[in-house]
């Protein structure tokens, strides 16, 4: 079976609020899918639907080809951002507890975390804690893994090691769903699903999502003055060192600056994933506001 988890036009309403609206999402074996969205975009509700922790108000959700059930959840591994470990227990004790909960006693503590076996989880650096949480979530050999910001806040080498593990798990025939605000993590994924206001508003690889999106990069002698001027004019300007990056029309920007006597070179450059994300999500919010007032 290729598809591990799937939402087909899934919606979930809470009273008058629609948290998830006709969302489509597929996670296949062997791939790492990134689920992106601002706070309140509906990511957590969609995951709860996939896990069967709540039922959709409309549409369908399938986990391993059937409506989510307790037995299907045995094949799911989950690492929340808060890690879900017992800080007051050692690494080995955490491992033993989870193994027992999944009726998998006697499983050996894996090599990757064996060095910290007898240390309290609460005393380990964050990178090590994340590694332990990941190993523990894999202890029952899940086929579908959900990871919430798995490498945020971890130093460069710890981060590289964690992604090594995540990719290895995907290579071992699991499917992985990563939810994150961190665009460096998003760029590690094979495919991205962007949510805004309960809807899926973009899907594809990072390159597909940024394709065709541009920003104006402005170089000028006095970036601070140019920033202050454009900012006061309501232009969505961002300062990057001695350059400005702007998601608005370049012609307008050049004119505004030249009217203020600021000489600037404006170049149209490809948007970063973060810039593309902000543009997509803001456009959705504006569209909804227009819909509300109509």
């Amino acid at each position: 079976m290729d598809v591990l988890a799937e939402a087909r036009g899934a919606s979930r309403r809470f009273g008058a609020v629609t948290a998830v609206s006709a969302a489509d999402l597929v996670v296949r074996r062997g791939e790492v899918v990134g689920l992106l969205g601002a706070n309140g975009a509906g990511k957590t509700t969609l995951i709860r639907l996939l896990l069967g922790l709540m039922r959709p108000s409309a549409g369908a959700v399938l986990l391993f080809g059937a409506p989510p059930s307790i037995s299907a959840r045995r094949l799911v591994g989950y690492v929340p951002q808060t890690l879900g470990l017992f800080a007051g227990l050692t690494v080995a004790e955490n491992w033993a507890f989870t193994s027992a909960a999944f009726r998998n006693p006697g499983a050996r503590v894996p090599e990757a975390i064996a060095a910290w076996k007898n240390q309290l989880v609460g005393g380990l650096p964050l990178g090590a804690q994340r590694q332990v949480a990941f190993a523990v979530a894999l202890s029952h050999r899940p086929e579908f893994l959900i990871l919430d910001e798995p490498t945020s806040g971890v130093g460069p080498l710890g981060r590289a090691r964690l992604w090594d593990g995540i990719r290895h798990a995907a290579g071992e025939a699991a499917g992985v769903l990563v939810t994150t605000h961190n665009m460096e993590e998003a760029e590690q994924c094979d495919r991205l699903v962007v949510m805004a206001e309960g809807r899926v508003v973009a899907t594809g690889t990072a390159d597909e999502i940024t394709a065709g999106r541009t920003v104006a990069e402005v170089r000028c002698g006095d970036a601070n003055r140019a920033f202050a001027l454009l900012d006061a004019g309501g232009v969505p300007v961002q300062l990057h060192g001695s350059d400005l990056r702007i998601g608005a029309a370049a012609a307008t920007v050049a004119e505004l600056l030249s009217r203020a006597g600021i000489e600037a070179a404006v170049e149209i450059v490809p948007a970063t994933l973060e810039e593309a994300f902000v543009e997509i999500v803001s456009a959705q919010a504006l569209g909804n506001m227009a819909g509300d007032t109509a």
Partner: protein
């Protein structure tokens, strides 16, 4: 006047939390300190604002009342409303009535909190809390603004708004120091310090750091690790060749910040 730390050393028992760390923070400029957990970012800023005495080195900072500081985990009163938070800070700094009205109004507008004036600080979303905290630190128009991880855990839309607020302070002449765990935020600074385990791995302008990546960085799509000095980037691998010669089948790439950080960490590993 420029502020900052020079050759600062901080010891915590046997552990060296900061070793020969130099950070310079200049008026109208943003200095970004990038590092993961345990890098020493918070220690560095505690020394900068005077909460912690270094064991060695020198610190230049303005008088306490000319500093605005937002620690990593707070920066507002959870049980006061947005308006009460602003009033309280304005009282603490004895801002004259006219200035208080003007600045508070400006901050409410810039942080997009107009609709949340009467909500408790603790009931705001994470992104709104961080915006309010930065706004409160700006209320008394400090000379030096010190922000410890203002954007951690904040969604990208709120992050963009926070950076506009921060950049606005620099554009107005404030010297700004910011820490972040998001490597790509390094590009926001005119000066960047890569910190890891209490050591400065690299520092300079974003361009200088990218130009200064030693050796060659390459990319390869391979089933297994192409060399011991390689790490994952999505479905492919990044490879670092310190002497410049990449293994066969590895295509050279222009290193980005993420590469610069990993290479700097690899280069500083013992035995290299």
């Amino acid at each position: 006047m420029s502020w900052g730390l020079r050759d600062v050393r901080v010891r915590r028992g046997q552990h060296v939390a900061l070793d020969a760390v130099t950070v310079s923070v200049d008026p109208s400029r943003i200095t970004v300190v990038v590092g993961g957990d345990g890098a020493g970012k918070s220690t560095c800023f505690q020394v900068l604002v005077g909460l912690l005495q270094p064991d060695a080195g020198t610190v230049d900072r303005p008088a306490k009342e000319r500093i605005g500081y937002v620690p990593a985990t707070a920066g507002l009163y959870a049980d006061l409303t947005v308006a009460e938070n602003l009033d309280f800070i304005a009282d603490a700094y004895r801002l004259p009535a006219s200035e208080r009205r003007r600045k508070a109004g400006e901050i409410i507008e810039r942080t997009g909190l107009a609709g949340a004036r009467h909500r408790l600080g603790g009931k705001l979303s994470g992104g709104m809390q961080r915006k309010l905290a930065v706004g409160l630190a700006l209320l008394h128009s400090p000379e030096l603004l010190v922000l410890d991880e203002p954007t951690t855990g904040v969604d990208p839309v709120s992050r963009a708004e926070l950076w506009r607020l921060i950049s606005g302070a620099a554009a107005g002449g404030t010297a700004v120091a910011v820490t972040t765990t998001y490597v790509n935020e390094a590009a926001r600074g005119s000066s960047v310090i890569l910190l890891e385990a209490g050591h400065v791995l690299a520092s300079g302008s974003p361009e200088e750091i990218l130009r200064g990546v030693p050796g060659t960085v390459g990319t390869a799509r391979a089933a297994g690790r192409p060399s011991p000095l390689s790490w994952r980037r999505g479905a492919s691998w990044r490879v670092w060749a310190p002497a410049g010669r990449l293994p066969d089948g590895v295509q050279p790439v222009q290193p980005d910040f993420d590469d610069a950080v990993v290479v700097a960490a690899l280069a500083s590993e013992p035995g290299r």
